[in-house]
Structure formats: structure tokens, C-alpha cells
Amino acid sequence: MRVVHYLNQFFAGRGAEGAASLAPERMAGAVGPGRGLGLEGLEVAVTLVCGDDFFGEHETEALRQLLAWLDEEAADVLVCGPSFGSGRYGYACGTLAREAAQRGIPAVCGMHPENPGVPAAAGAAYVVPTGERVTGMRDALPRMAGLARKLGEGAPIGAPDAEGYLPRGLRHNVLDERPAAVRAVDLLLAKLAGTVTSEAAARPERVPPPPPITDPAGVTLALVTESGLVPIGNPDRLESNRARAWLAYPLRGVTAFAPGAYESVHGGFDVRAANADPNRLVPLDAVRTLESEGRLGELHETLYTTTGNSTPVATAAKFGVEIAQRLHEAAVQAVILSGT
């Protein structure tokens, strides 16, 4: 098993705050806490180091170099830290571990549960909870080494409390002793008696909205939809569910979505009424009217469309990021996103 270990400048013995701007370095063998991992039977092949300030100020550059080295070293598992209560170090550990895990290299961090590195790991990497201070080293290393060994071997990883990592936010199936219907009746009677409990809670990802538009006559507006709206005949074979891509179609010169010229291929609702007037899926006719009256600055001349039906959330989130990037590059300031 090939283990790569990540440390900041301090734990790599390169100096304290004065060395925080250290650019990424690669060192053979175990360094500092990595020797402690070795005592737990986890032999470190390569140690990667980066100054905390350098990582914070040049994240893209630091990640590119560190991930390239991870690939070169053909790491089976990446261990980061432990970073305890250190916010900058923890952030670097969590971010690197997340990126590695998303590239298929399992990763373990060790840090305090309130370290900003925990959200940075985003559930992609495992985080072993530690104390806030470096005095927690002796307690943390055996637990990190144990989990890293299992991950490196490709062994199945059990429940968070059994394996000693922080819950990653996955919704994992287990068998309850009682059928769901019996639990429902029990929870309802308890609710009537004043005790409200739930087996699933909302986990909304809150994105701070941009400031409101003060003058619509001055903005560029885009139309984006998950309604499966495409030119008639579906020339690019957009899927009716579990879409693998989003598509872009030109709107220049199109004043409205004429029935018979556009259609929805969405497989999750009855499209007949929508296809009788596709403008009710995406309000191009109304937007063009506002544009011609000067009440709306300008319509972005591309429609972004996909099918939002049985799409895994990870895929949908990726579509969202990609489309938003296009809109951002085109200086679009407002979007009408029509869902079905």
C-alpha cells in the first residue's frame, strides 16, 4: 500500500509563521507526525508539504502541484494532518483531501470537528475528530492510521461511530426493526403527545443571493430550464430522464417557441399541454415583449436546457455550475430558471 502524507510547514519542520508562504514541496519518506503513523504500522512513502499562507493565497496553483504529485506517486491513500484546531492548516487538509477523494484516491484527515477543514472536505474525504491542540497527537494518529489502512486496502468502511470518523452526510440504508408504516404511526402519536421527531431533515445548501436588480431595463437576462425543451425532433438526443448533459440552443431571431417547432422530451410529466404552447415552459414570448417595450435590457441569445428527471443530485449540481459559469462569462445578471 502506497501512503502519501500531507503536512504544513510547521509539522514538516520547515519553520513556523515565517515559513507559511512556503510553496509545495515533495519529500521522500515520513516526516514529523508521519513517523508516528509509521509506529502505528502505516508506512509513509512520500510527504507533501505546503505553507498554510501559500495554500490560502494560491489555492489553485497549490492544488494543481499537489494533485499532480499524488498522481505521480500512485497513492493508494492520502493522509492529511492532523491539523487539530488550526483553521488555515485544516482548510488546506480538507480541500486537498476532498480533491483527492473526488479523483478516486481515498483520503483521511484528522482535525477538530469545528475546524473549517471539515466543511472543506465536503463529505468526500473522511475526517477523524481530534482535540483542538497538538497534545491530541498521540490519540489521533492510531485512529487515522487504522482508517487509512482500511481505505488503502479497499476494505468496506462501516458506520461513523464504529470506525471513528465524523459523519460525511451520506444517506446510507439500514434495516430498522420496525416497518416504516409502524414507525410512522408511532411518530405521529408521539407528535400528538408533544414530542416531534423526524428521521430525515432538510439539508438545504444555502447560496447567498446576489443583490436585487434595481433596473430591469439595464440587465441582460438568460433563460435556463430543466423542462426538457428542445427543437422539434430532439436533434441532439436529450434524454427524457437521467440526463447526461445540458444543451445550448440559439435564440437569436426567435420571437417565441412555436408549437411544432419546439417540444419537451421530459419523461417525468405529461408534456401534451406544454407542447401545445412551449412558451409556458420557458416564457420566451413574454420576455421578448418586455424586451421590445424597453422594460427589459436584453435577452441573452442562448437557451440552456436539460431534463431534470431522476437526475442524481451530483449530476444536477455539476450542470448548474457549468451553466452558471457560461452565464457569468457572458455577463448575464439575471436568469429565469423554469422548472417542471
Binding site: P167, L175, A180, V185, L188, A202, G267, G268
Partner: protein
Amino acid sequence: MARVGRTSTDEGLDVATFVVLDVVEGPETRWDDGRLTTDLGAVEALGAGSPGVHRMQAEIVRPGQHVRLVNVLDAVDPVVKKNAPQTTFPGALGELAGAGVGVSYRLDGVAVLSLADFRTTHDVDALACSPDGDGVIDMAGPGAYLSPWSATTNLALTFACDPDVSLADVDRSIRAITLRVARDLAAATVKAVPVAVESFALPPADGSLPAVCVILQVAAEGPLADTFFYGRSVAGLLPTLVDPREVMDGALTSGQYDWAGSRNPTAFYQRSVLLRELLARHGRDLRFVGVILALGYLPSAREKERSALLAARLAKRIGAEAAVLTTFQTGNSHTDTVLTAQACERLGVATVALFAETDAGLTDWAPETDCVVSTGNEEELVPEWRPERVIGGEMTYSGRSATDAGRLPVVEYLGAVSQMGDMRLRAVTW
């Protein structure tokens, strides 16, 4: 506090259960004290002459066999009205009669399954709502725990369809034949003496007990995506009060073949754990004041809000202080449930909602949905399994061979994340 609305004489439903220990093929369909013999040739002959059915193959499939069933359409518990067999599944198969009264004989441990790969004969995507997924039951392997029909002996009816007959007509034939076979199997017991008889009664109950109803979500999106109440599509249904015993006794049947894990096959209405639980606790922990059928998958915000409002008002009107909200499939039907919870809570009707989850958790929520039962994460992948044999089709929906389908998500398995609450699966945070 409202009184329970009921006539003074509650007729009640008596259900005799015959536990099937073995199913064998033989020259005639008969019952011998736990041993069910069925004439597969005679069963197959039932399919002949039905519009749209070229051929129907019947075979017995047992738990533990290295067999994967795909394109499973429905699962039906064999049942017969003892004193009026011709009224079994009223409207859908038999003559119209009120369901949920009288004596029913049912078989336990055996199910009738219908299977058809419509994609090989018809342009399924041309339907208003095309059914998605593979409709899987594994009789062994790592996915076997996900479907109730991995543990039953199944009479699998595989239909070869006529491409020149419309899907709506083909499906009408398949549903009728499947219900007929289920009825005829159970009919073998009508002269037998039952060992176990359950009486499902709803006598007047202590008015101080909390009044609970079920708002049972059903859906109708056209052929292959339909639910039937006394044989007629529930399309356009207003929230409607029904007796729980009607639901359990064949009044509701399924013609809905979208994602197998989150839909309700006919058997889930027949054997509903939820309705049985509420009937069992009636008079002890609660008063069970009825079942409201209400549509999910309504096509606009206005229609969703309207149905939610009317369902909540009906719940209030029958005196319910609390309601169990079931959900039909996933996606926008979750919004129907959330809106119904909001409408109920505004009227002072406390709610619990049953939801299947995705990798990202709940699909929809509101402050009012503060009491949710998780029926599992439908997207979690099941370890790979390669069956020795596949019944019901050759290719999966995603275009892979059914014997080498890779890791399937939980939602492919019939009944896995039932939001009527029939299963024990639940998602926890890892």
C-alpha cells in the same frame, strides 16, 4: 371532538389466510393443506385470445434460486371472495360489488407477478409518461433483501405483446389476466377450512383517543402509469374518502410501472402494513377514521395546491386530528405531499409523511414537514450480482445485459423504498 362517522352496523371484513408451504406443477389447480398445485398449461391458456397478448409463459420461481426477474409490472396477492368469487377485484376483474366486506380467502407466501418488456414491441417513449427502470426482483444475492417478492414463491407470468395493438389495450389484457390468475389460485381454497381468520372491524371507539386518518397518495399519468379504483383510472380524482378495508380487499389495483422501488404494486394495497397497523391499534391507541385517496404527480402548482387543500379539508371534516401521508414515487410527487402536510397543519391536523430519499436527502420539505419517516435512499447502489438466469427480458433499461447489469440502485427493486411504509429500510447519516 368529532365523532367517528359510521353506520351502526359495521359489516367488517374477515380474511382467512392460507399459508403456502410449497407450490408445485400438476394436472389441476388444487389446495392440499399447505401445498398448492397449479396447472401451468391451464394458466397459460388464460392468456390466449386476449387482445394484444401473443403468448404468456407461466413459471414457478422460488426464493434462493439464482434468478433475476426484470420488467416486473405488478405483484398481486392471490385472493378470492369466498361467497361471491365473481366479485373478486370488483370493477378491475369481477362484477361490481363493494369491497372490504364479507369473507376473503387469501394465500400467504405466494404471489402472482406480471412481466413484459414493452420496449421490444412498442415505442414506450411516445407515452405521456413512459415507465423508467428495470423492475427487478432478485431471488438470491445482495439485492434479495430489498424486495418482498424475493422471499415468496412466485408464479411469474411473462407476456409477449403484439406490437400492432396499443399499449393501453395490451396493458388492459395483462392486468385482467394477472388478477384472474391470482383469483383462481386462491379459489382452490374455498372449500378448505381456514386455520387463521382475521376480522378487520372498526367498532365505535373511545372518543378521547386521537382520531387518525391516512391520506393515501395515488397517481394516474396515462397508460402504464395508472392506478385503478374499482377498475377505473383515478385520473381526475378529487380527494375521496374510502374505507381502509376496501383498499385491502381489491378495490385499488396498480397499472403503474415506473421506477419499481417507489411505486405501489397491487399487493401493497392488499397487505398494507400501514392500514393493518392502524386497524390493529383502533380503539387502543387511536381512532382510525378513514383513508383519503388523493392524487400525486399533479401537473401544475395550482392543481397540487387545490388537491392538498381539499384533502386537508376532508381530513378535518371526518374529524381527523392527525394524518399519515403516504407518497407515490419520487420527484414532484414529494411536493404534493409537502403541500398536503402544510394544508393539514394549517387546519390543525398533525402530520407524519413517508418519504424515500436520494443521495442528497429529501427532495422537498417545509417547516410543516417536521415529522418524516425515511423509507431509504433510493439512489444507493447495491453490490453487483450475476444471476444464472433472467426472466422477463434480456436487456436492462440502461442497455446492459440483464445478467451483467452492474451495480443497480435500490430504486430498481420492486417495493424497496415503499412510501406506504411496507418495508423496514431507512436511511441514516453516515
